[in-house]
């Protein structure tokens, strides 16, 4: 068991452990972490498993160190990962930006708890969704995935690694405490059935290669260090050579490309689960643990004859605005339950426009919604 990266078979495990196992199955061999509830189990699982796999686990001195260590390890050629929760996520924001600016593939797992500040360390929240999108300074786009079960924590961590390699950026797994601490069946497939996106190494030789010159999909290729390429990588605004350029002429093509490589490829990044949408008059938009209560409500409404459907977001960022816009043209309204005081509902409002009702169902955190809260919102749309 010790030297087996992919634990093929049926398991009973938590979302936190499943995220760690998903990382290992995706080839993660470097984990820099710092303990924080409710994400500590991801770190502990990596501490237990990585030495036997020839990988590196290191408990860093703080979350700023963790984030930088995984960036450094990624440039060293490793698939790298860290995990944290609210306060640590805040501390990682600056260097999440470094990862975006230097186009460094890696994965950051945020097991969300209630905030602000120390808030509710042991209890659920979904309050970092906007921080995931906007938390680091400057203009950028990000990819964030939200699992609703331990099985999905496993699958989406692999997907997060694949996106990070494909588009060269840190990818966020926006889990929540309930999914993180929930025990459920997790089926781990045989290693050869797991599709992995390889690192995009260049075939160009030193002298021909420019580290930030992108191809058609706007993503530049990587190199292996120590081969005489002598690349320079900086968090400063840089040209295709990687050299700083302190002027608008260098800034515009760089920042536009960093944003466009996600925006223009968004159709390949969107993932969502659609249920009962064909004849729906009311559509529930939800993600993470909340989607499980939302689905219960959808089933109860259907049993009553109410035409309610469910759009469960798997990709939260980039936000699947096309899908929401298309639904907005033919339904009465959206119901958006979240364990926050209204975050992703703003995206629904932005994408849907003013012609449909949009009812947020907020919860301040520390627990999940009572189904009645969501039923009331459905009634409000229908009446």
């Amino acid at each position: 068991m010790s030297d087996q990266a992919v634990l093929t078979g049926e398991h009973f495990m938590t979302g936190d452990e499943a995220a760690a196992e998903g990382g290992l199955a995706a080839g993660c061999r470097f984990f820099g972490g710092y303990p924080i509830t409710p994400a500590t189990e991801v770190t502990e699982c990596m501490a237990r498993r990585l030495p036997g796999l020839g990988g590196i686990f290191i408990q860093m001195e703080d979350e700023m160190a963790s984030m930088n260590a995984i960036l450094g390890a990624a440039w060293g050629g490793a698939k790298s990962m860290t995990s944290t929760s609210g306060p640590g996520f805040s501390l990682m924001m600056e260097n999440l930006g470094l990862g975006i600016m230097t186009e460094t593939p890696c994965v950051l797992v945020n097991v969300q708890r209630g905030g602000p500040s120390t808030g509710l360390p042991t209890l659920v929240g979904q309050q970092d969704m906007m921080q995931a999108r906007w938390g680091s300074h400057g203009d950028y786009e990000i990819i964030a995935l939200s699992p609703a079960s331990p099985q999905e924590a496993f699958d989406l961590t692999i997907q997060a690694f694949n996106f990070s390699e494909q588009y060269r950026l840190p990818v966020l797994l926006m889990m929540d405490e309930s999914v993180g601490h929930m025990f459920e069946k997790v089926i781990i497939p045989p290693a050869d059935e797991i599709k992995l996106t390889p690192r995009r190494y260049t075939k160009k030789k030193p002298g021909e290669y420019l580290p930030f010159q992108a191809g058609e999909d706007l993503v530049p290729e990587l190199i292996e260090l120590g081969k005489g390429y002598n690349i320079h990588v900086t968090g400063l605004t840089h040209d295709e050579k990687g050299y700083p350029g302190m002027n608008p002429e260098t800034q515009a093509p760089l920042v536009r490309r960093l944003v466009d490589k996600i925006r223009l490829n968004a159709d390949n990044i969107y993932m969502y689960d659609e249920r009962n949408l064909d004849d729906a008059e009311v559509v529930m938009v939800s993600y993470g643990i909340t989607s499980r209560i939302a689905q219960l409500v959808v089933d109860e409404c259907r049993a009553k004859g109410q035409k309610v459907g469910h759009l469960r977001l798997i990709t939260c960022w980039p936000f699947p605005e096309k899908k929401v816009r298309e639904l907005a043209d033919r339904i009465k309204g959206f119901v958006v339950p979240e364990i926050n005081l209204g975050q992703m509902v703003r995206e629904v409002q932005r994408a849907a426009g003013r012609n449909v009702k949009i009812i947020p169902v907020s919860h301040a955190g520390g627990g999940v919604h009572a189904p009645e809260m969501i039923h009331e919102a459905v009634e409000e749309v229908i009446k």
């Binding site: 703080d62 060293g76 050629g77």
Partner: protein
């Protein structure tokens, strides 16, 4: 008197002339941004000389810097190089070095970057004896932002944020890292170019956490605010006031304002690195 242009056909035109150190620098990024008489260039010069004299191949060297005047070093050396965020060069380098233990990872940054905002990373990395060489150029001040208080600014020295003179005791940086477990600790000024180069060569050739403090003049900000004269005056000060004391107890090497500077190799010992111990004891059964 008029000067006659050089027309001797046996003399190469000026554009073809290269400094012997040029191949180790990113010539296409020169001239650099450092002020005249800044000490950072001298530290870089010693470093590229040390690379040539060391047992490490140029290709195997990676330079990682943080933010600040010295933080720009990564942008001028002809190696794989990374210019990271303020204070975070060390943890970035830790990750890189653990993922690629075959590379020699060198952190080149300033006193503010490494000891203030990055201080936590510095002490923990020394404690773990990570396989890193850290060059800390100490000019007693924040240069890039225009001359503010550093954690190394001597008491009474004036900076733009201590306009009436600094009242905070500074760090004795060699003592800080030595007491945390650094296995190689040296301090030289940029006047001691041969000794500095030798220290850098030793650090390149060894494993474990090596720390070299380089005392360097900042004539534009530190010297001007404190009326210490020109870069030349500061070099003369180093000449007249440095005392070489190898093996000195690092408790005794603290620096006061325009006080004696104790230089030398203070610590040079062997201790297993983080990776040595991780590899030997860290193999669990994975269950």
């Amino acid at each position: 008197m008029t000067t006659t242009p050089v027309t001797d056909p046996t003399v190469a035109p000026c554009t073809a002339l290269h400094h012997p150190k040029d191949p180790m620098l990113r010539e296409d990024r020169l001239p650099h941004i450092w002020c005249p008489t800044c000490g950072i260039g001298t530290a870089v010069s010693c470093f590229v000389e040390a690379i040539k004299e060391s047992n490490v191949s140029e290709k195997q060297i990676v330079v990682v810097s943080g933010i600040g005047c010295t933080g720009r070093v990564a942008g001028y050396v002809q190696t794989d190089s990374f210019h990271t965020t303020h204070g975070r060069a060390i943890p970035f380098a830790v990750g890189l070095s653990l993922a690629r233990p075959d590379l020699k990872v060198v952190v080149f940054s300033g006193d503010g970057d490494l000891v203030a905002i990055g201080g936590n990373h510095l002490i923990h990395t020394a404690r773990r004896n990570q396989n890193l060489m850290v060059v800390c150029v100490n000019n007693f001040i924040y240069g890039m932002t225009g001359g503010q208080l550093a954690p190394t600014t001597p008491v009474t020295a004036r900076t733009s944020t201590t306009p009436y003179g600094n009242t905070e005791p500074p760090f004795n940086v060699p003592h800080l890292v030595a007491s945390c477990g650094a296995t190689y600790v040296a301090r030289w000024t940029v006047l001691h170019i041969r000794r500095l180069k030798k220290a850098m060569t030793e650090a390149l050739n060894r494993s474990g956490f090596s720390f070299i403090e380089v005392i360097a003049p900042c004539s534009t900000l530190y010297a001007r605010r404190n009326r210490l004269g020109t870069g030349y005056d500061l070099m003369k000060f180093y000449h007249d006031n440095s005392e070489i004391r190898h093996g000195a107890d690092t408790r005794d090497v603290a620096m006061g304002f325009q006080d004696k500077i104790i230089v030398g190799k203070f610590v040079d010992e062997d201790r297993p690195t983080f990776l040595d111990l991780y590899r030997s004891k860290g193999k669990g059964d994975g269950k």
